[in-house]
């Protein structure tokens, strides 16, 4: 039985015991979409340079209801991010939320299963927003996640409270015995005036195949402010498709940083739907790849209402035979006058085998706007290299210093010091040098 047949069977089994409710229709529609669209191939406009079809040629254990894993709290210690002592920690194992491994420290943070949330006071929120990302990510792999949405969680950040504890979300794949396909899903609702830091990270243990197809939808209400960090440094053999979908439904502020350091195939979709006036979003990304990694960042900033500001800077360092893709779309809808939208993508290739495909895309339907975009692909600056070497710094260290220097203006946007130092450390280790 191949993976697709297996998935279909799981879907039918789960649906037959599914009591119904709000999520059932959403799942059935999504499954139909998945059946129609299938796994995206290179023919799909958004999947030209990233091939995931072959990942479905192998068999995965896919048990969205019972994640069969002995993953323990002790093992979690090994993958925890620094600063966890103060953090709320939400832990997913093989796609399912584990309340026993998770820690909630903030009274203003509510975590429920989506199934529960859709039946209680949060019903309207879930009804309005769950699945909104499908308007932006129209492919079978995204539909596949939505087809099993009732296993996901709902995170509510309450009104007018400053959450002093960041929310760390771990997606653990326990691939110690069999290949694992996991599909974490969450809907985060950030209430008016709330401030929150969200941090996502991924860790696979075990050497079997690991494929994570993850979706997070985040609703940002009026005067709310979100810092969002995604840190990807999973094992060499792991694959993931990861969608983060922001919906700014009131004037609000987003600061998003995506750090991608490892993985075999990593595809990120980051959407910002600016559905209110005077929204602001800052998007930063750093991908530093070696070996045979392939990392694809697709971003969409959709200016729907007037007077919004977005600023985007993604930087890439690509070594060995690694490949990178950057695709950044900015839409300015007819109503969105006085939009300010800026985008820049800069890459350096460290080897002859490394490559990058970068494509900015501006679609502007309003006339009174300020937009700019630019992309560069280059090599390490020879002038700079000679300057450092002429001061007695050996070539290897000089290169490392220059690569690190290139990354700095992304690193400095990681506001929590512990995380910034952590990422900096990972980069320095890769470069085999100590920051003086």
């Amino acid at each position: 039985m191949n993976t697709i047949e297996n998935i279909t069977e799981r879907f039918q089994q789960l649906q037959s015991t599914n009591p119904g409710g709000l999520l059932k229709q959403l799942e059935q529609d999504a499954f139909n979409d998945f059946s129609k669209m299938g796994i995206p191939t290179a023919k799909h406009e958004e999947w030209k340079y990233t091939r995931i079809g072959s990942l479905f040629n192998q068999e995965y254990l896919f048990t969205p209801d019972r994640p069969k894993s002995s993953f323990s709290g002790k093992e979690l210690d090994a993958v925890r991010l620094p600063g966890y002592e103060q953090a709320n920690e939400l832990v997913f194992v093989n796609g399912m939320y584990s309340s026993s491994l998770s820690t909630i420290r903030s009274a203003e943070l509510v975590v429920l299963s989506l199934e529960h949330a859709s039946e209680n006071e949060y019903r309207d929120i879930v009804l309005t927003h769950l699945g909104n990302s499908s308007k932006y990510v129209k492919d079978g792999i995204h539909a596949l996640n939505t087809a099993f949405v009732h296993g996901g969680i709902f995170v509510h950040v309450k009104n007018s409270k400053v959450t002093e504890h960041p929310v760390y979300i771990y997606y653990i794949t326990d691939a110690r015995s069999v290949n694992i396909l996991s599909q974490p899903r969450n809907l985060v609702h950030i209430s008016e005036h709330a401030q929150v830091q969200l941090v996502e990270t991924y860790a696979t243990i075990g050497a079997a195949e690991s494929f994570t197809n993850q979706v997070m939808e985040i609703i940002v209400e009026k005067n709310a402010s979100v810092e969002y960090y995604k840190i990807q440094n999973d094992a060499d053999h792991t694959n993931q498709v990861s969608t983060t979908h922001f919906r700014q439904v009131g004037k609000s502020y987003i600061h998003a940083v995506t750090i991608s350091l490892n993985g075999r195939i990593v595809r990120n979709n980051l959407n910002i739907a600016m559905e209110a006036e005077r929204c602001e979003a800052h998007l930063y990304g750093l991908y530093f790849l070696n070996g045979y990694s392939h990392i694809d960042n697709h971003t969409v900033v959709d200016n729907i209402k007037p007077n919004c500001l977005s600023n985007e800077l993604y930087k890439g360092i690509i070594d060995d035979s690694a490949t990178a893709v950057f695709n950044g779309k900015i839409f300015v809808q007819p109503n969105a006058q006085k939009t300010n939208a800026y985008q820049s993508n800069k890459n350096i290739l460290l080897s002859d085998m490394a490559s990058v495909n970068t494509k900015p895309q501006l679609e502007i339907f309003a006339d009174d706007v300020k937009c700019s975009h630019g992309c560069t692909v280059g090599r390490l600056d020879e002038e700079g290299l000679f300057y450092l070497r002429s001061r007695g710094i050996n070539e290897k260290i000089a290169r490392s210093l220059l690569v690190h220097a290139f990354a700095v203006d992304i690193l400095e946007h990681i506001k929590p010091e512990v995380l910034r130092n952590y990422v900096d450390q990972l980069i320095s280790e890769r470069l085999e040098f100590d920051i003086a």
Binding site: F386, Y387, R389, S390, R391, E395, A405, A436
Partner: protein, 254 residues
């Protein structure tokens, strides 16, 4: 200390240096002057080990070693220092980190332990005072957004930190205000001793009023066409390069 014999160098097939001869002994200050494009910076770059220049003929011996065989970092380890005419801007690398790495790499080259944070800070404070450089400048990205004068002072500051044996200063006086020239000259004079040497590339007499050269050379069209003492610099200041160009061209025609 440094012996250059019949040095020829080219870049992208273009012959720039066409037979340079120069001997520098410990304790000496040499000045090289010459019109724009004559090859002064090329000479400095070849000595520092820039790889895009090809040496096609001749030899350079430095402290008994074949200089041309050494990598740029080894040359620096051996005490060669070039203050760049156009210092490179490196965003994201703080000047302090850069200098600390350089100081410790050169110490490593000599088999010495790296300076710890306290020792380094002490050394830096001392040289900062000497060069009248502000801490805030050093905590910024290397040369990024520095004014012309700040870049030049930063070069001399690096020289003071690295304490080389042979310092080549490529137009370090250009673009400096009067006070800054005095500071730079003072830095160079403090640095001078009987064991090290300085090669000053300059267009102006002004710096030479403060740093008195033992020899002045005129580089023209890839060759040293005149050598003399500090009076030669004064004569050039007064008469310009034309008389030398004319003399050289007449000699060649003859």
């Amino acid at each position: 200390m440094l012996t250059i014999r019949n040095l020829h160098a080219s870049i992208e097939g273009e012959k720039i240096l066409k037979g340079i001869n120069l001997e520098i002994k410990p304790g000496e200050v040499h000045a090289i002057m010459g019109p724009n494009g004559s090859g002064k910076s090329t000479l400095a770059s070849v000595l520092a080990g820039r790889s895009d220049y090809k040496v096609t003929e001749g030899s350079v011996t430095y402290l008994g070693k074949n200089l041309l065989e050494l990598s740029p970092e080894k040359r620096a380890g051996e005490g060669l220092f070039l203050a760049f005419q156009y210092p490179v801007e490196i965003a994201g690398l703080t000047t302090t980190n850069f200098i600390k790495t350089a100081v410790n790499e050169i110490r490593k080259y000599h088999g010495k332990e790296p300076l710890d944070a306290v020792q380094f800070l002490r050394l830096m404070k001392e040289k900062m005072a000497l060069m009248n450089i502000d801490q805030s400048l050093l905590s910024r990205s290397l040369n990024e957004g520095f004014s012309g004068g700040e870049k030049k002072r930063n070069e001399i500051f690096q020289m003071a930190m690295l304490e080389p044996k042979l310092a080549i200063l490529d137009e370090t006086d250009s673009g400096l205000d009067i006070d800054a020239i005095r500071i730079v000259a003072n830095g160079v004079n403090k640095f001078r001793n009987k064991d090290n040497a300085v090669l000053l590339i300059t267009h102006y007499q002004r710096l030479l009023d403060y740093v008195i050269p033992d020899f002045v050379h005129v580089l023209y069209n890839g060759r040293i066409v005149r050598s003399g003492t500090k009076e030669l610099a004064l004569e050039l200041e007064e008469r310009g390069y034309d008389f030398i160009k004319n003399e050289v061209n007449e000699e060649q025609e003859a």
